[in-house]
Symmetry: D3
Subunit: 240 residues, 6 copies
């Protein structure tokens, strides 16, 4: 039995709310149970130096946790004067995942910056950030396309992410903190709505795991991501 009483293949309650920031071109508050991540998308009509005069655009991400998003307070990275290795690892992952479904040539010399800030954490913040970040990105691209900044909405698919893990010997979907902190192994999967694999990050936390176990996690993830993509699609359909 999972601590939350969920079935092994059951996601937490998922909500992707737009309309949560009056300034940003795109915004989504992604909630996976008690994990709440506020994602905003900012569109800038300039690109990093290495892309100037290439005709191509860029999508990048930053990630942060509010100090008391966690059970015990985490030091503020701005006060410590640097971002942790974990933060940098996660924001690089979010950026790669969103670029995987963006046609950067069709975007033109435009940069979209996705900010993912964790208001409350209960496991799976990076997967909520990717899933909500996609919605913020899509909303932003639609808006600036409507304003004529870009000609088309240069998205070639949806992308979403979920974690899975071996919890007390059983493969389970969408780990919450209680599970994540004791799992034997966990893996984050980033996939498109058509089942293409974008990123896999699997880690044995206590003991190495077997290929069959890994494949069971991937199967759970595939089903979970299909559900997440449906929520994304419904959210975006509601914006039209």
């Amino acid at each position: 039995m999972r601590p939350s009483g969920r079935r092994p293949d059951q996601l937490r309650a998922i909500a992707l709310d737009t309309g949560v920031n009056k300034h940003a071109e795109g915004a989504c508050l992604a909630r996976f149970g008690d994990t709440h991540v506020l994602c905003t998308a900012t569109v800038e009509e300039r690109v990093p130096p290495w892309l100037r005069n290439t005709g191509k655009g860029w999508v990048t991400a930053e990630y942060g946790m509010l100090p008391r998003s966690t059970n015990t307070r985490t030091d503020r990275e701005a006060a410590r004067g640097k971002q942790s290795g974990r933060t940098q690892e996660i924001q690089r992952l979010i950026g790669r995942s969103l670029r995987a479904v963006t046609d950067l040539a069709a975007l033109g010399e435009v940069q979209v910056r996705i900010d993912c800030d964790v208001l409350q954490a209960d496991g799976g913040t990076r997967t909520a950030a990717i899933t909500g970040g996609y919605v913020a990105l899509a909303q932003a691209l639609r808006r600036v396309q409507a304003r004529g900044v870009i000609k088309t909405v240069p998205l070639i698919g949806q992308v979403a992410a979920i974690s899975c893990g071996l919890y007390e010997g059983t493969p389970v979907l969408d780990l919450d903190y209680a599970e994540d902190s004791t799992a034997q192994a966990d893996a984050n999967f980033v996939m498109t709505n058509t089942g293409g694999i974008v990123e896999i990050q699997g880690t044995a936390e206590t003991t190495p795991f077997e290929e069959s176990e890994f494949l069971a996690l991937m199967a759970l993830a595939r089903a979970g991501i299909t559900e997440l993509c449906a929520v994304q699609a419904a959210t975006l359909a509601g914006l039209e």
Copy 2:
């Protein structure tokens, strides 16, 4: 006429919501119109080095803005590797303001850290932070008193804050961004529920101002802070 259509002595819609963070000992989402600041209070049973073995406690604050809380994106301080002078100035102000109503000797060797994170900004973020920070502090102190960590709730009054300014020649209360960015002068006032002055920060933005003008701002602030203290009191009464 104010851009928002408010009367000169009219606050924006004020909301102080608790129950917005499942981890923190105290939490309050302070909304002054479109300015939204999430305040959490963390209680630690240890004090900074200079207070060890003095029997006294401490209240301190940190402040941050989410990158897209502002109309155009502001660089993330954690990524830049340091907090701006403005950030440090504001967090020092919040800390001093809350300490002014805390009996640090009665608190004992306990530290309360108030984190104020701006989710959306429209002027007056520091005043919302102080006003909401007080609620988070009071809730946290009540909770740890209930748990026996401290014997009494060591608060000697309420504290709240508001800005005023000279907008197109008229003294007005609770500046929003449209007013703040063009005001001739503005001042932030921090006062207790009994009218004691805790902090005054007045600045001539374009031309020096007269003492009579300053006194008109202070009178507006006094009335506004009375209203804010009433909202604080109602919020805290609802927790009992």
Copy 3:
């Protein structure tokens, strides 16, 4: 009785000496009793990026304390790798105060940098820095006007600053360290020679204070600043 034996409305011995730096366009060693601040003004014929091509100039300030300017040694900020919040707060205040009396449009695309370094501290360093910084600024502007870099001396008034506080229940002018460290409340006032208010920063150190107390402090400050402006004027007259 004040520790120094001064009357409540009495300034310390004030000296504003120019001719203390052979390199700077303007320089003033401001002494308020045992508080000694060396102020230099550097004129640069370029402005910060956000002012380029606007035809407007800028005045900015930096502040520092020599490590042993204080009673016990303070760590060197250059060695610690960052400026404290207090330092940044003070240098922002100095800059705003001096800009308040400068016609930035008349200055043209020129930047004046005021460096205020505390050689010896005994309370009131920021007020000495503003008062001396004005002299350095005025000297520098006269010199570069004489060289033809700017057409006029774009000053629209004098500016000076002083602290006041409630010391053992009595409002007193120009706090020294012995008073400052035990005052119930203190306030810094920045005003022009014509009595216009540029900045007010009042803080209750131990208990909130009353409006009547605050007005008494402001009255003391107004008289003190009149005296300081007279010393500034005499100093600058001596340069002609």
Copy 4:
């Protein structure tokens, strides 16, 4: 055809040389073709603060590239004042991988620090670092066991790593830089000598990939890691 002329399932020339540092408790120069990584192991009889008095030890890693290990010079991280996100990501991976085969309780309150410095890079530096880092770790543990610092050599298996990728549509083993920079997808696998999976990191570089493609990469990796473990075993056998 691969740029190097290798078969799809062929490793580069592999060399793991010990005896390359007279100071370190363990050392290994790992060469995967033209990728050369110098790994040293330092044994310290103290652990990080969070492990004190737990009876458990720790294995951690740091990673760096010499500025001209790369084709065009890379800025020195010590001069830039911080480690890149990539560097931190890699050193966290190396540490986790080596801890996966270390019995930290059997190690006792001892820390082993693995330094992996890239002298020359041609793709796959993190896999060479893990593979050589294991040899340095094993040598160091044997030596300090011989000196009586620890009772047993607390290793529960070997660990090695290799990259695979889809190069021009074909799954290939052990990417060199020419392949890595143009691969459609690549994945790093960390496994034990008994085939247990320790880490998987797969990334679609250009377009999402299929599960079948991923499984082909994993099969290649499994065979490659078996070969690497044999070289490790032979190297360590030669030290006895």
Copy 5:
């Protein structure tokens, strides 16, 4: 002819003034012509961690330049967030030089920190800092000996420093900025009052120099340091 009209073997006007800081245990304003360096000595009854429980003390130094001590303004190191290589090189030199005449065992577990801040620079700041730093150190040691903090004044000699250089082919003593910036070679010499060599730093600025030239510089330095030691001795005699 030297730009200043001095003879090749002539020092600039030398002044070593004590009584320039009311807080420090020792203080000296060292003036070598237009080079003015304020040196303070702070005595702390604790030593760096590596000396604890050794019974030995330490003398260390820090160095800084006020931003407008130079002809054109130099960025403030505290604002830039780090000390330059030049600054660190100089403060290490000052510390080594002063330790060379201090009996650290006789000092006991006490640290003396020498702060050398350049108020105005015209070449030779490091030599003025060492020469004045010695006076501040000696004054501080006498004072704390008088207070009983230490038993004896643990100085085993005087130390002073001077620069020499090849200016337009001629060896000259005590370079000012006009000479320093165009010298073919320059060297800094640190010697004791009995002629012992403490430090030599010689650098060919434009072309390598000959041993005979170097020996001519050393002879000039020896005579100059004898003069400086006499000024030091007179200054310290005046304190008794």
Copy 6:
């Protein structure tokens, strides 16, 4: 007797190996006994800002030590976030020494960056870095001259460096760590192949030394540098 059994005037075994890096324009592994420094030269067809449009080039150096190049591990400077004063002092010395034999005007607007990384340290790393850095520089300049980037090889001589010291009262050449850590005085000499002095850095470690002692060190250095220049010349001749 020296710890190594060497005669007072005997260098350690010297080896200068090129062909140690496939990417760099020039490279040399300099070995002075157990001190091993990997030097690479990178040629860039752009110069620092202050040299743009002057027609002149630049040679600069960076220096680092691998964490376990030392007997006990030294913290990684990239992880600490800054380079030590010692590191900066050494890399400035290497840069000055190499520029002393380079005709910067003949080089044209080209920058050569020398990276010196200590793989294993046993005293004298800076002298090995200069001696090997010269070989890397010369190789790089020859190569880019062959490619037509520069017209001539703008070297006006060879440069090499060696340390000497007073070890148990005797002047000895080329200190190893055992000698360096206990020497009464040590000095580093940088000279050209024709005997010109480029840099001298002499330090009394325990007690001041006499001029005659210093001259004995310089004589040893001169002979040692003649030997080093012969090895450099043979190495470079082998490249032709």
